[in-house]
């Protein structure tokens, strides 16, 4: 496999520390501490989206909405072109109506707006959440994160790993792993 793909699909493991938390507030505590210590590129795992975590991280609003907007507009335009151009390409009169009569075509335009909007939203999510989220390389993970545990992974070189471990323990991690 050529190198760039390799990086995307089989990224090298990133060295760092993984803290596993039982309680939400402990997790938030840890986040605060890390941010205070000037860390920004750590990853927080949670079984469900909690607004507290988002607040604690206060990240910018997701760019997915742009995907939705552009997709929707494109869809509407395609709908309009499809109906009108095809009507005039081989003009046939039906029911004494104008060849290109917009009112009925609005339905098509609307449906196309929704269709393309939805599809590009999905693309946006996949692109951002699934692929973009991996650019940090392969980081540690624990199956319990999808069940009932929270987690924080801090990328750290071997020398500063110790500091991180203690930080997480203080915050209330029930378990800390290094890798």
């Amino acid at each position: 496999m050529p190198k760039p793909f390799n990086d995307i699909f089989r990224p090298p493991p990133t060295p760092g520390v993984l803290g596993i938390f039982q309680y939400l507030d402990a997790t938030l505590e840890a986040i605060k501490k890390l941010r205070a210590a000037g860390h920004t590129d750590f990853t927080v795992y949670s079984p469900i989206p909690r607004h507290e975590i988002e607040d604690a991280l206060d990240q910018p609003v997701s760019p997915v909405r742009m995907f939705t907007l552009i997709g929707g507009i494109a869809g509407c335009a395609i709908g309009a072109w499809l109906t009108l151009w095809m009507s005039y390409d081989w003009p046939l009169v039906v029911g004494g109506k104008p060849v290109g009569s917009v009112p009925p075509y609005v339905v098509i335009m609307f449906e196309m707006t929704i269709l393309f909007g939805a599809l590009s939203t999905i693309l946006g999510i996949l692109f951002n959440a699934v692929f973009a989220a991996r650019r940090g390389g392969k980081i540690q993970y624990d199956p319990r994160f999808t069940n009932d545990r929270f987690g924080i992974f801090v990328p750290a070189s071997s020398q500063e790993a110790g500091k991180m471990e203690s930080l997480l323990r203080e915050a209330g991690a029930e378990e800390v792993r290094r890798g």
Partner: protein
């Protein structure tokens, strides 16, 4: 019996060109071109591949002798059309005439001679063998009684047979199941002449029919209907219009349905009523009383209105009123016939009506003796009865049957007697009841394959020429007889010799003219022969009708309008054609009045077992007010035990109920007393009838005579013709938008707007148009089961809505041909997802069959419900629903696509004819002229009710008619802008009720 024959052989036989073959096989939708092209050996100089040739000949479906032009494509006869030159039908044709072609290509035709072998079954035999046997039999039977039984044959063929039977010491007998003995007897009684007169319907000012169904089965329907529409139809231009038409009879036939008033006199008392009217006229001097009227005094004295009111069941006042109207019209024409002439006292009735005519001065003016209709010269039923007794007594050694099926119309007696006949020969084209009982069958050519002529009446000699090669290995009976007589030459030569004898000078020229015009027609009508009252008139009206027995019912047996005496029963078009009155197809029925039905707890479809002294039959009841409560009416035509796949074992044979005794005037009685019992069985009757009432929806409009006379150009008697206030704005806006259509693509420039005008005053509901449409547009016949489920394909349907008097009794009906209205704003078009339904530049609702995917949305959205769907593949070879089994497919119109299953189809104003005319016009660098294009329905309509043309052409007839104040558009309130303008029916009643 009839083994199917592969198409290839046909093409060889017919010498069809590749084009023909292609057209023939690729009638189906979807690309299926022929793989082989077989050229002519020698191309007939009068045939151009891809272009139709018309041959003039004569229709032999009944004895009227209408002239027809046969449309021939690549050696196949594809359509019959009336011959405009013929003085009888004036270019028009009835349903039965249209269907003649289905007799030619009928899948059940006998393909070769058959002989009964030792085991009693039929086996094929070659012609030489057959002829040898036959001549041997003839030799043996000489002197022992040779009888040649034919249908009505006033023709060279008849002459030939007469000559030959004389030569071999036999005799010829002609037989029509519905004879006209009563007419002749009645005329003899009244005027001392047995001749049949002609009736001048066209110039009558008041029509009074005593049972004569001159629009459907009586004498010469097409001719009479044409005349009738001229006098009876409302025409603002004609002061005399319209002639009121009163029908006297126990049930409403197609003819009665067109009457303005129905006098339901008790069955058999029509004569008494006529005499009473005559009495009024004479006693009150309403008309110029003829010189010898005094001789009537004695007779009429016995028939004062008061005296007869009771027996006839007609109020005295009504009788007087009718008599007055009749006489005052100064052109009253009374006709007796049909049912009235088939009672035991039929002759008296006819005589009585003659006297009425005489008293009113119609005889000589509207009733003309002299032409002497040929049909009347058939032998009487008495002659046939004597033949039967001869046969039964073994006095007949050799019997020939030609063009008649007595075993069906005389069940019981005739077949029994037939058993006693030494040797029986049939010339039938079908294995019908009679043929099946014969020993030798020598199938005759179909009339369209043979030479011949007929003399329907003085002054008219219609010529018959073969228009196609014989389809099967048949032989003209004329040739057979010539062989038997040992005479040289073919029957064609014989016919020519006959004509030569008639026309001494410059025969060849006259012959060629006859071939072109379909016969010779005397320029001037035959001289009218004056008649005087006969010596003794006292017998007339003496015979009062038998008093009705307690439980028995009067049952009248009437001829089916299209199947007639059963000869049409094996033609799917006729079977599928709903009876104009009952709208029932594919089976027989008995007409029961609601009161009677209530008495017996009868519902439509319940079976009634009718048991007469002569036989018993079961019929499903059709409950209707169009029949007297004390009468049950049954049509003939069904219930064949043989004859072919479409006719066989279908419903019941009404002839079974009738006796074979000869009545006083040598005729057969078609009214019997029978016990009627409910069997408990039930069937869903096959009817196309929806609601019998129009319910004021604006599908048909009726005007009283006075109202109609009062109309001026520009009047709008029908409110919804004007746009309602609230809609005017929208309609205006729409109008402005329309210019866009004319500015885009194919729609640029001027185009015709094809339109139709249908005059409901003229339309009689005879349904000729329906069959014509089947023939022209390759409509599939779907058969009884599917029709029961409303799957019939008839693009043109006739809607029969009863008109009723204040008592709710039907007083005639209004018939409205309903077909695609070719709307300007067609609801069907915009809903089609694939543009299969769209608007053509020339204003048609195009239906592109090969684009249709069959969503059927168009039909749902069509307020007229004139779109029909192909539920199955009706063209599938050997399929369960095959509509054109070989060789029936030969009559498919190559100009029209045969639709595949899953495709919507509908009327497009015979677009193939439009395009054909446009192509011809283009070749001649001209525009299509008004009248160039005739739709099939318009072409055949006997009453000329339909007119087709270009609504954008200010000088076209249709444009003129569309502007008629009587004109209206069906459901115009929906703003569909139909291209069909209906002209409201005008009835004599002042306050017509829609019922």
């Amino acid at each position: 019996m009839t083994d199917s024959i592969d198409r290839r052989r046909f093409l060889k036989v017919l010498g069809v060109t590749g084009a023909g073959a292609a057209a023939l096989s690729s009638c189906g939708i979807g690309p299926e071109p022929t793989e082989k092209l077989i050229p002519y050996l020698i191309q007939p100089e009068d045939q151009i591949p891809g272009t139709a040739t018309y041959y003039a000949t004569t229709c032999r479906e009944c004895a009227a002798g209408c002239g027809v032009q046969v449309r021939v494509r690549e050696g196949r006869a594809v359509k019959l059309e009336g011959n405009p030159d013929s003085p009888i039908n004036r270019g028009r044709l009835c349903a039965r005439g249209q269907a003649a072609i289905q007799g030619l290509y009928n899948p059940d035709r006998l393909t070769r001679p058959m002989v009964r072998n030792a085991t009693g079954t039929f086996e094929a035999i070659d012609w030489d063998g057959a002829m040898q046997r036959l001549s041997a039999k003839v030799a043996a039977a000489r002197g022992k009684g040779i009888v040649f039984l034919t249908g009505a044959e006033q023709s060279s063929f008849g002459d030939l047979v007469d000559e030959w039977t004389a030569q071999v010491g036999g005799r010829r007998l002609s037989y029509e199941p519905f004879g006209f003995e009563a007419l002749r007897a009645g005329n003899r009684m009244a005027f001392g002449t047995a001749a049949l007169p002609t009736y001048d319907f066209a110039n009558a000012k008041y029509l009074l029919s005593f049972g004569a169904d001159f629009l459907d089965t009586w004498l010469s329907p097409v001719e009479f209907q044409n005349g009738f529409s001229r006098s009876h139809a409302f025409d603002a231009g004609r002061p005399a219009s319209m002639a009121k038409f009163v029908y006297v009879g126990p049930r409403l036939s197609l003819t009665g349905m067109n009457a303005d008033e129905w006098i339901a006199a008790r069955a058999g008392t029509e004569g008494t009523l006529a005499l009473a009217m005559a009495q009024v006229i004479v006693s009150q001097r309403l008309a110029k009383v003829p010189a010898d009227a005094s001789r009537l005094a004695g007779l009429l004295a016995r028939h004062t209105p008061r005296a007869v009111a009771e027996v006839t069941g007609v109020e005295q006042a009504a009788i007087v009123r009718l008599a007055t109207e009749f006489a005052n019209s100064k052109g009253g024409l009374a006709i007796a016939g049909g049912m009235a002439a088939q009672y035991p006292n039929g002759a008296e009735i006819v005589a009585a009506v003659n006297i009425l005519n005489y008293a009113a001065g119609a005889v000589g003016s509207l009733v003309k003796f002299g032409a002497d209709l040929a049909i009347g010269r058939t032998n009487t039923f008495a002659d046939l009865a004597s033949l039967i007794s001869d046969m039964a007594a073994g006095k007949v050694a050799l019997l020939f049957v030609y063009g008649a099926n007595p075993a069906y119309s005389l069940p019981g007696a005739f077949p029994q007697a037939l058993g006693k006949v030494g040797y029986k020969v049939s010339f039938s084209s079908y294995m019908d009841e009679t043929a099946a009982a014969c020993d030798l069958i020598l199938p005759d050519h179909h009339p369209l394959e043979q030479w011949g002529d007929s003399r329907p009446r003085a002054g008219v000699i219609a010529l018959q020429q073969p228009v196609v090669q014989p389809v099967f290995d048949t032989r003209h009976t004329g040739d057979v007889v010539l062989r038997l007589a040992g005479r040289p030459g073919t029957f064609q030569d014989y016919v020519q010799s006959k004509w030569r004898a008639r026309q001494k000078t410059n025969f060849d020229q006259q012959w060629m003219d006859a071939l072109a015009r379909g016969g010779v027609y005397a320029e001037s009508p035959p001289a009218t022969r004056a008649v005087r009252l006969a010596a003794s008139l006292d017998s007339i009206g003496a015979a009062a009708p038998a008093a009705s027995a307690a439980q028995d019912q009067e049952v009248i047996v009437f001829p089916h309008p299209v199947l007639h005496d059963g000869r049409g029963a094996n033609k799917p078009w006729l079977q599928e054609l709903p009876d104009p009155v009952s709208k029932i197809a594919w089976h027989s029925w008995v007409e029961v009045h609601p009161d009677t039905a209530a008495k017996w707890g009868l519902a439509t479809g319940d079976f009634l077992l009718l048991k007469s002294p002569f036989g018993a039959q079961k019929f499903p009841a059709w409950i209707t007010r169009s029949v007297r409560p004390d009468v049950l009416a049954v049509p003939t035509g069904q219930g064949h035990s043989a004859y072919g796949r479409y006719a066989q074992d279908r419903s019941a044979n009404a002839f079974e109920l009738l006796g074979t005794q000869v009545n006083s005037y040598g005729g057969r009685t078609f009214a019997v007393r029978a016990s009627a019992t409910k069997t408990g069985e039930h069937r869903k009757i096959v009817t196309t009838e929806g609601s019998p009432r129009e319910r004021g929806r604006g599908t048909v409009e009726v005007l009283g005579l006075a109202r109609a006379k009062g109309l001026h150009a520009g009047d709008h008697p029908f409110h919804y013709e004007e746009t309602p206030e609230y809609a005017s704005g929208a309609v205006e806006w729409w109008g402005e938008r329309q210019h866009e259509k004319a500015s885009i693509g194919n729609y640029q420039g001027d185009h015709p707007r094809w339109g139709l005008a249908i005059d409901l005053s003229k339309c009689t509901g005879c349904a000729a148009c329906v069959t014509a449409c089947y023939a022209e547009n390759n409509l599939a016949t779907v058969g009884e089961q599917l029709m029961q489920r409303g799957r019939e394909m008839s693009w043109m349907r006739l809607e029969r809505y009863w008109l009723t008097d204040e008592k709710g009794e039907p007083q005639g009906a209004v018939n409205s041909p309903m077909l695609c209205q070719q709307c300007g704003n067609a609801p069907c078009e915009p809903v089609c997802p694939v543009f299969a339904a769209y608007h053509t530049p020339d204003g048609l609702n195009g239906q592109v069959y090969n684009r249709c995917v069959g969503t059927r949305y168009c039909s749902n959205n069509c307020p007229y419900k004139v779109r029909y769907f192909n539920w199955f593949n009706y063209a599938e070879r050997g399929g369960e629903w095959e509509a054109w089994p070989e060789p029936l497919s030969m009559l498919l119109n190559p100009d029209v696509t045969v639709r595949e299953k899953g495709v919507m189809e509908k009327c497009t104003f015979c677009v193939q004819r439009i395009r054909g005319a446009q192509n011809q016009a283009r070749l001649q660098d001209r525009n299509v002229r008004d009248g160039d294009i005739m739709t099939a329905c318009q072409q055949t309509c006997p009453s000329e009710a339909i007119v087709f043309g270009d609504l954008n052409d200010r000088h076209s007839r249709v444009y003129e008619l569309a502007g008629n104040p009587r004109g209206y558009h069906v459901l115009a309130g929906l703003n569909t802008k139909p291209a069909i303008t209906y002209l409201a029916r005008v009835v004599a009643q002042e306050t017509p009720s829609h019922g």
